[in-house]
Subunit: 497 residues, 2 copies
């Protein structure tokens, strides 16, 4: 079964159990693991590590592409294995440990961590644990449903453990485009000029002597966690369609729009799904993760090409797409996350970036990460890579959370991930605010009117009016009251008091 | 005198007075003016506009490269001419008008405004007013001491007014490198691979029929406003040298470092001047503005090449450098600000970015623009272009202001321009904090210890400790107290109470 997936006899001799492979990971090591938005993660070895740690405690720094599936972050965190974790996660148990200050979480722009790593600005990766679908005779590794940081981890590590996943459709080979930019300051332009430009190889070329262990696996990716579209996400999609139609009408784009990026999660996925019934056509995606919506758009004949770093699907969509990946193959590229998220390419292609806000303030600053301004949700992910360099940077959010007890539009966000400079359009289920070319004092009334829930209009307008009158400035704020809604929520369980 | 600087007879016929030229500017127009950090600004026509407005009021949107000299922003603002202003300014009177809400100020990343303009995301420029040192036979315009946004303004405007400045040393011709990236999504890589790469032309190629008026001028640029180095700036330079030596020692750079960007202003200039006596050599700059320090480094034999968008010098330095610009010419390039600040190039070259913070918080978020969180100082300028994409992003500030009554290190910055992700190293006269690879809870004690003034150590440590204990989270904050130092200053005139 797996013999044809390890083309070197010498390497076949390195097949071991997950427990044996896990024993290579020592206390204090920096471990670089595959996995990006629950796709293509190493599945068996990390669990074996957690098992071992229960008897013989040890701690590591864990670096990945982005989030992992299979409760790996939960299990490692509960086993006390994680001293440090970067650059992104979505796990409830790990999140709690991070927020208790037990795990040091370094939240990073997804394009930047391997830059720092290769430049020795971070401690080097001692061991890489990479899921592969194929190992060639020369030792080169073909990744699976994500590329993430796997290539730089494998190239930089002293040792590599490979989880060879035999459940991956062989047709996946050829989808990947592995390219690592030269070291600076002698770097060349990265030559992606269209979403479909290929600039690299279809496998990761490593020194095969570094491959220390191979573990055979047939465990599929964890399905994505997205919820289906609802009235609010449909309304957001509708407003965004309306905005893009206005752009087309004013001659700024044609009906093929510009290449689209959409963040991970329910809202961004639902918004893209909404485009199935839009008049736009021959769309392209240059994104970090492809969710169900990408394949719905392919199947609806709306999408010409999609480039990203991973494919993360629901169980139903995976069952439909993965066995037939060959049918989509010539319209797909999976790249290292530093290339899917590379500022140079994002600016060059003129990306429409659609990312999710946790909360936005009346001036258009966005908090994507910190609940209540203090507690980490998931991480900034790629939103900073895209929003700063996008042609149009859109942030979407529902106007309220917790049944109306939390307003997503507040006087001042309690944590800033994206400044007003990087937020062009803000959309809630109530409407959109086009903020381009507006000063903060012009943004506030527009955001309140178009995006805030009516229950909060008076509160927000009153704050803005009083801030203008009593304090003034470019961005009027009454600092004593800037977080009054957050404080009220904490005390009473509702921002309405 | 000026005849040899206007090579077309047809164009010589368009010479008019500043008043006549100013009469072309009508109420409601969008005006694109040359000028970047007080260099190469149009000097006569804007003053004539202000004079006219006193009799016949009118309002415009004024777009420039960055700040202007000659009190132009003051005079225009006091004459009521400015309805809207972008993307940067440094004028006291204009600043007051902005903060009163009378002038809508759109604070923008310096690389981005012309992108939005060319993509018709902002109202088009009706008239461009550009300082030039030479007009060629075909109408092409050679800029003076800055390029800024002049090329895109001139190419996009319906009409062009040229201020031909005969005081500019003819040797300036050939220093400029004018290049405008293609429209997206069909843009090619911008081929600057070293600070000295030339990719464009030495003049702005415009349709000569658009040149509506030429005004002859011999007014030099306003001198820069920087103060001389003092003990604190010298100490900052010393700590930064120490940091770079550590980088060299650890094999991350050699003694030529990486190309350097330094923000406008006294501190950044003094820091660079400090490198004259450092052991570093064969330095290169890829920056937005070249100040006195650049020429001190040239003269000390420390600097090999400098690329920027403008040259802004003190009176003494200008008197020494400008008459002899020919001597420096083959080591200088002036580029459009979208190229000097282009994210693609900044990331590729591996820039060391040195920018000034107004205040930083214990977690490393930086406020560069808003005094007290509300009142605009100058604008974000190019700091966001550089900090986000730099190889190492350094922010410098003195630990205290107003004789110790303001701490530059606070629990939470009252306005965020740069998030913790974009701040690698924070330096005050007391020391530096290397924040790379650290979680917020690790950053706080380090920033307090290394960078905060001793008078504020206890206050900041106490806040951090209580925030960890009573609230917790990835970025512990007590929202009710986050701005307590700011509020105390407002009430008592001192953050110490």
């Amino acid at each position: 079964m797996f013999e044809d997936r390890i083309q070197s006899e010498e390497l076949r001799a390195k097949i071991v159990s997950a427990d044996e492979a896990a024993s290579l990971v020592k206390d204090g090591m920096v471990v670089g693991m595959s996995g990006f938005t629950r796709a293509g993660d190493a599945k068996l070895v990390p669990h074996a590590m957690a098992k071992r740690a229960k008897k013989h405690p040890f701690k590591i720094s864990l670096l990945t592409g982005a989030s992992l599936g299979h409760d790996t972050d939960k299990i490692l965190s509960e086993a006390g294995v994680l001293a440090r974790r970067m650059p992104f996660q979505v796990d409830t148990a790990l999140r709690a440990a991070i927020n208790r200050g037990e795990v040091m979480f370094i939240d990073e722009h997804l394009s930047e961590m391997v830059e720092q790593l290769r430049a020795h600005q971070l401690p080097p990766v001692n061991i890489a644990i990479i899921e592969a679908m194929m190992i060639h005779k020369d030792g080169s590794i073909v990744p699976t449903t994500s590329v993430g940081n796997s290539a730089s981890f494998a190239l930089g590590a002293d040792k590599i453990i490979i989880e060879l996943n035999t459940s991956i459709n062989p047709d996946f080979e050829g989808i990947h485009d592995i390219y690592i930019p030269e070291a600076r300051p002698n770097r060349k332009p990265v030559g992606v000029v269209k979403p479909d430009t290929r600039i690299g190889t279809t496998s990761i070329k490593v020194d095969k002597n570094k491959i220390a262990a191979i573990v055979i696996s047939d465990v599929p990716d964890s399905p994505s966690l997205i919820s289906p579209a609802d009235d609010a996400t449909n309304a957001i999609a509708r407003h965004l369609t309306e905005f893009f139609l206005k752009e087309v009408d004013q001659g700024r784009m044609d009906m093929t729009l510009s290449p689209i990026q959409a963040g991970i999660g329910t809202i961004a996925n639902a918004v893209l799904t909404g485009f199935v019934n839009s008049p736009f056509h021959n769309l392209q995606m240059y994104s970090e993760v492809l969710q169900d919506s990408t394949f719905e758009l392919f199947d609806a004949g709306k999408l010409d090409f999609a480039s990203a770093s991973s494919i993360t699907l629901s169980e139903a969509c995976a069952a439909r797409v993965f066995p037939n990946i060959g049918r989509y193959k010539d319209r797909l590229i999976l790249r290292p996350q530093e290339i899917s998220n590379y500022p140079e390419i994002i600016r060059r292609l003129g990306i429409i970036a659609i990312n999710t806000a946790l909360e936005a303030d009346i001036y258009g600053n966005v908090n994507s990460t910190h609940v209540g301004g203090t507690h980490m949700m998931n991480g900034i992910g790629g939103s900073g890579d895209f929003a700063r360099n996008a042609y149009i940077s859109v942030f979407v959010t529902k106007s309220v959370a917790k049944g109306g007890k939390i307003s997503s539009i507040v006087p001042m966000v309690a944590h800033v991930d994206h400044t007003e400079h990087d937020v062009d359009v803000l959309v809630t289920e109530l409407g959109y605010a086009d903020l381009r070319g507006l000063a903060p004092r012009e943004r506030a009334p527009l955001i309140i009117e178009k995006c805030a829930h009516p229950d909060y209009h008076d509160i927000l307008r009153d704050y803005f009016d009083r801030a203008c009158k009593t304090v003034g400035g470019q961005t009027p704020h009454i600092l004593e009251e800037a977080f009054s809604l957050h404080e009220k929520f904490k005390k009473t369980g509702s921002m309405l008091g």
